[in-house]
C-alpha cells in the first residue's frame, strides 16, 4: 500500500498521465473542430436569377419583350419574327446562335411554318387552343417539343440551346429541341489507357455519355435520373444505375447527398466528388473517378452508382474502396493468371511508392546493422562527401522529381519531352557528379517514381505520392519505429474511413471468401458466381451455372 502511495506521489507519473490523457483528448477535440468546419453553413440570400414576377400573356410583343428583359440583349440571341403560313398571325422564334442545328431549324420548323396551308383544315386557327394543336400535330417536324407557361423554365431552356416558338394569341411557349453544338469526338481516354479494351472514353457532352452507356446494354433496368446542380449555372447531373441491382439504401444516400449539395457552379465532377465525400480530411479519394465507359458499366453492374456531370468526361462512381483504386479493367479482359500476378505487383508498387524512400532513410541513418555488410559498406562509400543528412538528400531528390513531373504536365508536349530528358540528366548524372546526392539515392528515388506511376487511378496515385513525404519524415524522426507508427496510423485511418457507408478497406475487413476472389488476386471468371457482396446488390447472382 505504501509503495502504491509513493508511486502515486511521484511527479513524473503525474506528468506521464497528463500527457497520455491530454494528447488523445486534445487531438480528438481538434479533429472534431475541423470536422465541424464542413458542416458550418453560410446563409445565402435567396437568389432569383430569373425574375419570377414576369408572366406570359397572349400578346406576342409583350412576351418577346419579357424574354428580352430576362436574357438581356446578348448578341448571340436571335429573335426572328414572321407570319404564320397564309395566315396573318405573328410568330417569333428565339434561339441562341451556335447551339442550334441551323439546317434542321430551317427545314423542320421554319419551312413548314412559313408554308403552312390551312385549306383542308376545318379548324379555326384564330382560337388559341386550336392553333397549338395545329402547330403540334400538323406543322412542326421536330420530335422533342414541350409546351410550358413557366417563364423560368422557358428561359433556362432557351439558354441551354432549345428553340422557343412564341405565337400571338397563345400564352404558352413551344420549346423545340434542335440542339447541336461542337463537341469532341470519342477518343481513347488519355488518363486510363489500356492495351486491351475498348478505345473509347467519355466526352464533355452528357447526352453523348449516357448514349455511350446505353449502347452497351439493352437492359431496360439501366436508369438515368437527372438532377440540376449549381444554384446559378444549373448544370445537368445524371446518376446512372441498374434498377434491379443497385441497393436502395445506397441509391437514396447518393440522391440525398446530391440534393443536399449546395454550390453556385460545379465546373467539374471533382466539385461533386469533394462535396459528397464522407471525410474531407482523409488523404484517400473516397469516390472513384474514371473516363472509361466500360469501367462505369462494370461498376453499375456490380451495384454501384455512377454520377455523370455535364461538361466533363470524368464520371464518378460511388462507393469506392482502396482495392478498387488498384484495379484496372484490363484485369478482367486478359487471362486470370498473368493479371493476378500483375495485380499483386500493383499492390507491391503502391507499398513501394509510399515506403521505399522512408525505408532507405531508416536503414541508412538508424539501422545500419540491418543492411547486409557489403551493401552497408557500399552505401557508406557512396555517401562519403555528400554534404546533407539522408532526409535532406531524399527530400531534395523527391521534390525535384515532383517538380519535373508537374512541369511535364504543364508544358506543351514537345517542350515537355525535352524537360523530362534534361531533368533526368540533371538528377541522374549531374547531381551525383557534383556530390550533392549519392547514386543509391537516385536509384531509390527513381524506383519510387516508377512505382507510383503504376497506379491505375490517378487520384489514388497522387494520394500515395503525398503520403510518401509524411512517411519520409516519420522515418527521419524515429527510424523503422517511426515507419511502423506511421503505418499503424494509416491503417487506423483507413479502417475508420467509409465511403457511402462502405468501409474503405473492404473486402479486407469483410471475412467473406467470395469477395477475396477479386482482391489481391483476380480468380477465374467462372468462380465469381455472385456479384461482390460488399455493395449489397439486390440481384446477387451473376452466373447460375456451377
Amino acid at each position: 500500500m505504501g509503495r502504491i502511495i509513493e508511486f502515486l506521489a511521484r511527479t513524473d507519473v503525474w506528468l506521464g498521465t497528463i500527457v497520455v490523457v491530454l494528447v488523445p483528448v486534445l487531438s480528438a477535440l481538434l479533429f472534431k473542430k475541423l470536422k465541424e468546419l464542413r458542416r458550418k453553413t453560410n446563409v445565402r440570400p435567396k437568389q432569383h436569377f430569373i425574375p419570377s414576377n414576369i408572366v406570359l400573356t397572349e400578346k406576342l410583343t409583350s412576351n418577346v419583350k419579357s424574354i428580352k428583359a430576362i436574357v438581356g440583349d446578348s448578341s448571340d440571341i436571335i429573335f426572328r419574327q414572321f407570319k404564320l403560313g397564309n395566315d396573318n398571325r405573328s410568330c417569333s422564334i428565339v434561339h441562341i446562335d451556335g447551339l442550334v442545328d441551323a439546317q434542321q431549324l430551317q427545314q423542320a420548323v421554319l419551312h413548314p411554318l412559313l408554308h403552312g396551308k390551312q385549306a383542308k383544315s376545318r379548324l379555326n386557327l384564330f382560337r388559341s387552343q386550336s392553333i397549338k394543336d395545329y402547330l403540334l400535330n400538323h406543322t412542326i417536324e421536330v420530335s422533342d417539343i414541350k409546351v410550358t407557361k413557366e417563364i423560368d423554365k422557358v428561359a433556362r431552356q432557351l439558354l441551354s440551346g432549345s428553340v422557343l416558338l412564341l405565337v400571338d394569341g397563345l400564352d404558352e411557349v413551344l420549346i423545340l429541341s434542335v440542339k447541336k453544338w461542337i463537341s469532341r469526338s470519342v477518343e481513347d481516354p488519355i488518363s486510363e489507357p489500356l492495351v486491351r479494351g475498348p478505345r473509347m472514353g467519355f466526352i464533355e457532352n452528357l447526352r453523348d455519355n449516357t448514349a455511350i452507356l446505353r449502347r452497351m446494354t439493352t437492359d431496360p433496368n439501366l436508369t438515368f435520373t437527372d438532377f440540376e446542380v449549381g444554384e446559378r449555372t444549373k448544370k445537368q447531373l445524371t446518376i446512372a444505375y441498374i434498377r434491379d441491382i443497385a441497393n436502395d439504401e445506397l441509391l437514396t444516400e447518393v440522391k440525398r447527398r446530391i440534393e443536399d449539395l449546395d454550390i453556385d457552379h460545379a465546373a467539374e465532377s471533382g466539385y461533386i466528388e469533394q462535396l459528397i465525400e464522407d471525410d474531407y480530411l482523409s488523404i484517400f479519394p473516397q469516390v472513384q473517378s474514371t473516363e472509361r465507359p466500360d469501367r462505369v458499366m462494370a461498376a453499375i453492374l456490380e451495384g454501384r452508382v455512377a454520377i455523370m456531370l455535364d461538361g466533363t468526361p470524368y464520371v464518378l462512381i460511388a462507393p469506392a474502396t482502396f482495392s478498387v483504386m488498384l484495379q484496372s479493367p484490363e484485369d478482367y479482359y486478359e487471362r486470370w493468371i498473368p493479371m493476378s500476378l500483375i495485380r499483386v505487383l500493383r499492390y507491391i508498387a503502391a507499398l513501394l511508392s509510399v515506403f521505399l524512400p522512408s525505408f532507405y532513410i531508416a536503414f541508412v541513418s538508424f539501422h545500419q546493422g540491418l543492411i547486409p555488410t557489403d551493401l552497408a559498406l557500399a552505401i557508406a562509400g557512396t555517401r562519403v562527401g555528400v554534404p546533407f543528412p539522408t532526409i535532406i538528400e531524399a527530400l531534395l531528390m523527391e521534390v525535384s522529381i515532383e517538380l519535373l513531373r508537374e512541369a511535364g504536365v504543364r508544358l506543351p508536349k514537345p517542350v515537355g519531352q525535352t524537360v523530362g530528358l534534361v531533368g533526368a540528366l540533371i538528377i541522374g548524372e549531374a547531381a551525383v557528379q557534383a556530390g550533392l546526392v549519392s547514386p543509391i539515392m537516385v536509384i531509390v528515388v527513381s524506383a519510387t517514381a516508377i512505382s507510383s506511376f503504376v497506379s491505375p487511378q490517378y487520384n489514388a496515385g497522387i494520394a500515395l505520392r503525398s503520403l510518401r513525404f509524411l512517411s519520409m519524415f516519420s522515418a527521419a524522426l524515429l527510424g523503422l519505429y517511426g515507419i511502423s507508427l506511421f503505418f499503424l496510423a494509416l491503417c487506423i485511418h483507413a479502417v475508420k474511413l467509409k465511403s457511402f457507408g462502405l468501409p474503405y478497406v473492404t473486402p479486407g475487413t469483410l471475412y467473406s471468401k467470395e469477395d477475396w476472389k477479386d482482391f489481391f488476386l483476380r480468380l477465374p471468371l467462372f468462380t465469381m458466381r455472385k456479384r461482390p457482396a460488399e455493395y449489397y446488390p439486390k440481384d446477387q447472382v451473376r452466373r447460375k451455372k456451377k
Binding site: 541513418s365 546493422g369 552497408a376 555517401r383 527521419a476
Partner: protein, 386 residues
C-alpha cells in the same frame, strides 16, 4: 471547450516538439566505423593483459573515384592494450574520428595463449552483453598473433570477411569444420559441453583454415589443436559436415577420390553396468570422381563393391585416429556424442553431465561404415586401355 488560441498554441508546441525531439539514434551511415573483426591477443604486462585488434572497414576509400582504383587497404587495424574489452573499444574513440559500431562484426580471432589462459566466457563476455553485437560472428582460434592474422592484406578484401567466407566452402571438403558462431559457442559453454573451434593461420600474403582447436568443458580453456586430417575425422564422427572428398588408395596403391554427396553419422550409445560404449553407424552416398587405377571395368558391380569396402576401411581409419586423440590426449567430447546419449538415457545423463568428458574418454567405440557409390562418372572405357 478550449478557446481557439489555446488550441493553436498547443498544436504549435507539439509541432515544434516533433521537430526538436527524435533523431536521438540517427547517425548517417558514412559517419560510422564498422568493426568487421576482432583479434584477441595477450598483452605483455599485468596492467594490460589483453590486446585487442579491431578491424574497421574504411569506407572513406571506397567512395567516389577511389572505388574503381581499388588501391590500398580496405580496412584499418587498430591494436590497443587494456584490461577489459569494453575499455579498449571505448579507447578507440581517441584514435578514430567516428564511433565504432559492432553490428557488422564478422569474425573473432583468438590467440592460442589467450585461449589457454582465460576462460572463453570471459573473453566473449562483452560481446554477449552488448546488444548491438549479433550472435553471428564466427569464432576462430589461431596459433599466431591474432592481430597479425587480421593484418594480412588481400587485394580487395577485408580479412575478417575473407576468413568468414571460407565456411561457404563447407561442401567442398571435409577438412572444414562447420562455422562456429558466437551464439553457438555460448550455447555450448552454457550447456557445459566442450567446443571445437576452427583455427586459422596466416601465410605470407594469405590466410588459411588450418585444423581446429578444442576448448574443454572443464574450465573453458584451450586443450590443444587438431590437424586438418583429424578435422576430417571430427566431421565424419559428428555428421555435421556438408560433404567433401575422401582420398584413399586401392590395394595396388592407386589414388581413388570419392566425393561425398551426403552422409549421416549415428552414434548409438549403450550403457550397462557403468560401462559406456558407442556404435557409430556411418552411411554415405557419393560419386567416384577420380580413379588412378585406369581400370576398364568401371561399371562392374564387383569393382564398385571393392571400392566401397576400401572407402569404408579408410573412413574407419580416419575416425579411429581422431577418436584416439580426443579420448586420450584431450579427453573431450567435441563430436556431440552426448546428444545421442542424452536422448537414449536422459536420467543417467543428468547424473553424468558434469564429468561427461571423462565418461566419453573411457567409452568403447565401434564403427560400422557403409559407403555407397551411386555414380562412377560418365567415363566408360572399353577394354583396350590399360
Amino acid at each position: 471547450m478550449m478557446s481557439k488560441g489555446v488550441v493553436r498554441k498547443f498544436s504549435l508546441c507539439m509541432v515544434v516538439l516533433l521537430c526538436l525531439s527524435g533523431c536521438w539514434d540517427s547517425s548517417d551511415i558514412e559517419n560510422i566505423g564498422f568493426a568487421i573483426g576482432f583479434g584477441i591477443d595477450p598483452g605483455d604486462d599485468e596492467q594490460a593483459p589483453i590486446q585487442l585488434t579491431t578491424q574497421v572497414a574504411s569506407t572513406k576509400k571506397q567512395g567516389g573515384q577511389a572505388a574503381t582504383a581499388q588501391q590500398g587497404k580496405l580496412f584499418q587495424n587498430i591494436t590497443l592494450k587494456g584490461n577489459s574489452m569494453q575499455d579498449i573499444l571505448r579507447s578507440l574513440a581517441l584514435q578514430l574520428p567516428y564511433p565504432v559500431f559492432t553490428d557488422h562484426l564478422e569474425t573473432i580471432v583468438i590467440n592460442e595463449d589467450t585461449a589457454s589462459d582465460y576462460d572463453l566466457f570471459i573473453l566473449l563476455d562483452q560481446m554477449l552483453r552488448d546488444n548491438v553485437t549479433r550472435s553471428s560472428p564466427a569464432v576462430l582460434l589461431t596459433k599466431q598473433t591474432a592481430g597479425d592474422v587480421l593484418d594480412v592484406n588481400i587485394e580487395g578484401e577485408i580479412t575478417s570477411r575473407y576468413i568468414n567466407n571460407f565456411f561457404e566452402n563447407e561442401s567442398s571438403t571435409m577438412k572444414i569444420l562447420p562455422q562456429k558462431r558466437l551464439g553457438e559457442v555460448t550455447a555450448n559453454l552454457i550447456a557445459g559441453t566442450s567446443v571445437i573451434l576452427p583455427s586459422v593461420t596466416k601465410g605470407k600474403n594469405t590466410v588459411r583454415l588450418d585444423g581446429a582447436g578444442v576448448i574443454r568443458a572443464k574450465d573453458n580453456k584451450l586443450a590443444g589443436f587438431l590437424t586438418d586430417n583429424e578435422v576430417e575425422g571430427i566431421n565424419w564422427l559428428s555428421g555435421n559436415g556438408e560433404g567433401g572428398l575422401l582420398n584413399y588408395k586401392d590395394e595396388k596403391g592407386n589414388t581413388i577420390i570419392y566425393e561425398i554427396q551426403h552422409y549421416k553419422a549415428k552414434p548409438k550409445p549403450h550403457y550397462q553396468n557403468g560401462k559406456l560404449s558407442f556404435d557409430v553407424q556411418i552411411t554415405a552416398q557419393g560419386w567416384i570422381t577420380e580413379d588412378w587405377s585406369l581400370t576398364s571395368n568401371n561399371l562392374s558391380e564387383n569393382y564398385i563393391a571393392k571400392l566401397e569396402r576400401l572407402a569404408g576401411d579408410e573412413v574407419v581409419k580416419i575416425m579411429e585416429g581422431t577418436m584416439e586423440k580426443l579420448q586420450q590426449d584431450f579427453k573431450t567430447d567435441v563430436v556431440q556424442f552426448y546428444d545421442s546419449f542424452r536422448i537414449a538415457y536422459p536420467r543417467d545423463y543428468q547424473k553424468m553431465k558434469k564429468d561427461w568428458d571423462t565418461y566419453f574418454a573411457n567409452a568403447d567405440v565401434q564403427y560400422d561404415v557403409e559407403i555407397k557409390i551411386v555414380n562412377t562418372g560418365d567415363l566408360v572405357k572399353e577394354g583396350r586401355l590399360k
